[in-house]
């Protein structure tokens, strides 16, 4: 394949001109962006080369071989996985040029101001209001479940710009500068003891109209694209035994004294489930790379959550005395999400969020039933009703 050879040559050229051993991570990633090797399917000048998406794997493989640093997805997952594709799809050229490079180098960390206390699964019910004052939007409201808000320089925001139309039609999508004095970021402590998320209070936050993504009133369409990217990112698999099952399988091999007949049955059951989901995830990636629809990404997320919860619970039962202990209840504000780190007690508690974050398992089942299987939609009393007339 000519494209693949061309891309490899470009990677080698990048490595030759910008020795990752001598440059800072930011400097090297900046050079990689400028060479069009950040996301090869993006246009030239915006971190890409306008080539097929699957060539990204070729780039990444070559860079890993060379020991080059990669952008830290655990710190900037929202930026890399959600903001970048949204900017590409809906941003103006000016916005794309301003935001994509520092996003890729992780000099600017992004967070997501979507969910609200009154708008969880029903995200289109957000009540945070943005009112135009000259060429600046003034935003007031409250957001919640914002991971990384305390480290972020930028945020993507969905706010209500018109309350006199049905809920989906009155939303707009913005980029917010997190240094705005109207923002108050407070840690939200979760059942694990740590605060991975935040509550964000917005009081008179000022957003230039130039930082609106997509048209006024089109925020739902823009946000939906972003959320679809999130589901694919969350559902994506990796190597065999890369997830929770790998941690349990290793303990099983290393500590024969933990083995019982009943535990063996359960271990094998979950090993099969995890491996089958991994293979189905691999097929989903092949379908998407071949340009075929992959309606099962919502289903993959469902499977991932079920397994993570069951396997982390099983891991505690496997070693009861250790399972009764916990590594540390100190409230820390973590910089990144970790499903596999820390002790088994932490992993068990953290996994409880997997069936809630990024779309609850119940919503995932609705999505599969309605959009994939074509079953009739739920009864929606707020359909077609202006947002300000819907009981809340």
């Amino acid at each position: 394949m000519d494209n693949a050879r061309d891309v490899i040559e470009r990677v080698d050229d990048l490595l030759f001109q910008h020795d990752p051993g001598r440059l800072s991570t930011e400097e090297f990633l900046g050079a990689r962006f400028d060479a069009g090797l950040a996301w090869v399917h993006f246009p030239e000048g915006l971190g890409g080369l306008g080539l097929p998406r699957e060539l990204n794997a070729v780039v990444e493989e070559r860079l890993v071989e060379a020991g080059a640093p990669a952008p830290d997805v655990s710190r900037n997952g929202i930026g890399l996985g959600m903001a970048a594709p949204t900017l590409l799809a809906f941003g103006t050229e000016e916005q794309q040029h301003r935001y994509l490079r520092p996003l890729f180098t992780c000099e600017e960390i992004w967070c997501q101001l979507f969910s609200e206390p009154g708008a969880g699964s029903d995200l289109a019910a957000v009540a945070t209001r943005a009112v135009l004052d000259g060429d600046t939007w003034v935003v007031n409201g409250q957001k919640v479940w914002t991971s990384g808000a305390h480290n972020a320089q930028r945020a993507i925001l969905v706010a209500r710009t018109d309350a006199h139309v049905p809920k989906h039609a009155g939303l707009s999508y913005f980029v917010v500068d997190m240094s705005d004095p109207g923002l108050d970021v407070r840690p939200l402590r979760q059942i694990t003891g740590e605060a991975e998320f935040n509550e964000v209070f917005l009081s008179g936050v000022r957003v230039p109209d130039a930082d609106r993504i997509g048209a006024v009133g089109e925020g739902w369409k823009v946000a939906t694209t972003t959320l679809n990217n999130e589901r694919v990112a969350i559902g994506a698999g990796a190597d065999r035994e890369a997830g929770q099952i790998g941690l349990v399988a290793r303990r099983w091999r290393e500590e024969p004294e933990l083995r019982t007949a009943a535990a063996h049955e359960e271990l094998l059951h979950w090993w099969v489930e995890a491996e089958v989901t991994r293979i189905a995830g691999e097929r989903l990636r092949q379908q998407m790379a071949a340009g075929q629809p992959g309606p099962e990404s919502s289903a993959m997320k469902l499977a991932f959550a079920q397994q993570a919860q069951a396997i982390t619970g099983f891991a505690l039962e496997l070693d009861p005395d250790a399972g009764l202990l916990y590594d540390d209840w100190t409230m820390v504000r973590s910089a990144s999400a970790s499903f596999l780190g820390r002790g088994p007690g932490f992993r068990y508690l953290r996994a409880k969020g997997n069936s809630i974050e990024g779309g609850t398992s119940e919503i995932m089942r609705n999505v599969i039933a309605e959009r994939v299987l074509g079953l009739p939609a739920e009864h929606r009393p707020d359909k077609g009703v202006p947002f300000n007339e819907v009981p809340r």
Partner: protein
């Protein structure tokens, strides 16, 4: 990593097999086998075996076959499962054919390739690779699948010193048809009469039988996926049209969520069955693991899909008239065939180093 998608050639094979099964193996005819087993499988099988060349799909071109791989055979089995078709493709064109090929047979393969003859590996249908017992000459071997319409019987027999793989013709065996849970693959007791003809002996005979069973196990998963896919699709269609409480029952979340879960499981079954077929076709180092994994998973999903289909159809699902019972019976029999899911999990434990 494996190619888990379908090639254009495979998709066109699927279309032809689906059309042929619709014409030659309608569900009503399969249902009639429960009351009149004598109808047998030949009416459905002959056109597929000969006209579509399915009998010789896995046989090399030098013996008059198509020289295709496990990937294409898997596509055929998906359709056979979907149609709950009473044809001996798995028992003859996959399992017995693989045994004969592994035994270096030159005599029988050409007539199998044309569909003029049908063969069967004579072992209890619950046997799996590495866990089966050879028959004893003159004693019943049961329950055997695919024997009733077979012309050639490939029989692993305990010889004086070593295993012998012997070939018998129809008039050299005694056969009793057995009333079976799944009459779309009716079972029989088979007893050899005389010495037949020695095909292979010793360790290589054992290896040929294991090879044949392995191939059957890897590909049975695709039949099970086909059963599950039919059950899911049929049930989704049904709940869209069945009205109770003045609305389609498919608008109730209790039903939507069950079908969403089933969609996930059936989708995963399709992926892992494909993985087993592809690793088998390429002789991949992971083929044995893939086969045990696919069997452990797809066996149970086929039954779950059939049981969910029955429940979500309500009363009509419990009737003889509705075809879902054909799928339930086939799914349950397929679960017990070629090793139970628990047995495959035990194989897996060894293969991936998770000892008991």
């Amino acid at each position: 990593m494996s190619d888990l998608l379908y090639s254009d050639v495979e998709l066109s094979l699927r279309d032809s097999v689906r059309a042929a099964l619709r014409r030659h193996a309608p569900q009503e005819a399969t249902a009639r086998l429960y009351d009149d087993p004598s109808a047998g499988s030949s009416a459905a099988w002959a056109p597929l075996a000969r006209d579509l060349g399915l009998a010789g799909l896995l046989i090399g071109e030098d013996h008059g076959g198509a020289g295709a791989s496990a990937r294409e055979a898997a596509v055929v089995l998906e359709e056979i499962g979907r149609a709950v078709a009473p044809v001996p493709f798995l028992t003859s064109a996959v399992i017995a054919t693989t045994a004969l090929a592994a035994a270096g047979d030159e005599t029988f393969l050409p007539s199998l390739a044309t569909g003029d003859a049908t063969a069967v590996l004579v072992l209890p249908w619950s046997a799996r690779a590495g866990a089966w017992q050879a028959g004893v000459p003159g004693a019943d071997i049961a329950p055997v699948a695919g024997a009733l319409d077979a012309d050639l019987f490939v029989v692993p027999l305990a010889g004086d010193n070593e295993l012998e793989l012997r070939g018998y013709s129809r008039d050299e065996v005694e056969m009793t048809a057995l009333t079976s849970l799944d009459m779309s693959r009716q079972l029989a007791a088979v007893r050899t009469n005389g010495d037949g003809r020695l095909l292979l002996g010793g360790a290589s005979a054992t290896q040929a039988v294991n090879e044949a069973l392995s191939c059957g196990q890897a590909l049975l998963a695709s039949e099970q996926y086909g059963i599950a896919a039919w059950c899911l699709e049929t049930t989704v269609d049904y709940v869209k049209t069945r009205i109770q409480f003045a609305r389609p029952i498919g608008s109730f979340q209790a039903i939507k969520h069950r079908l969403a879960d089933l969609f996930l499981e059936v989708t995963q079954a399709g992926a892992v069955a494909r993985y087993a077929a592809d690793t088998r076709a390429r002789g991949d180092a992971d083929a044995a693991t893939a086969q045990a994994l696919a069997q452990a998973y797809c066996s149970d999903i086929a039954i779950r899909a059939a049981e969910e289909a029955l429940q979500l159809h309500g009363g009509i699902g419990m009737t003889w008239e509705h075809p879902v019972h054909l799928y339930l019976k086939r799914a349950k029999a397929d679960q017990l065939a070629l090793g139970t899911p628990a047995a495959h999990r035990a194989d897996l434990a060894e293969l991936v180093d998770l000892p008991a």
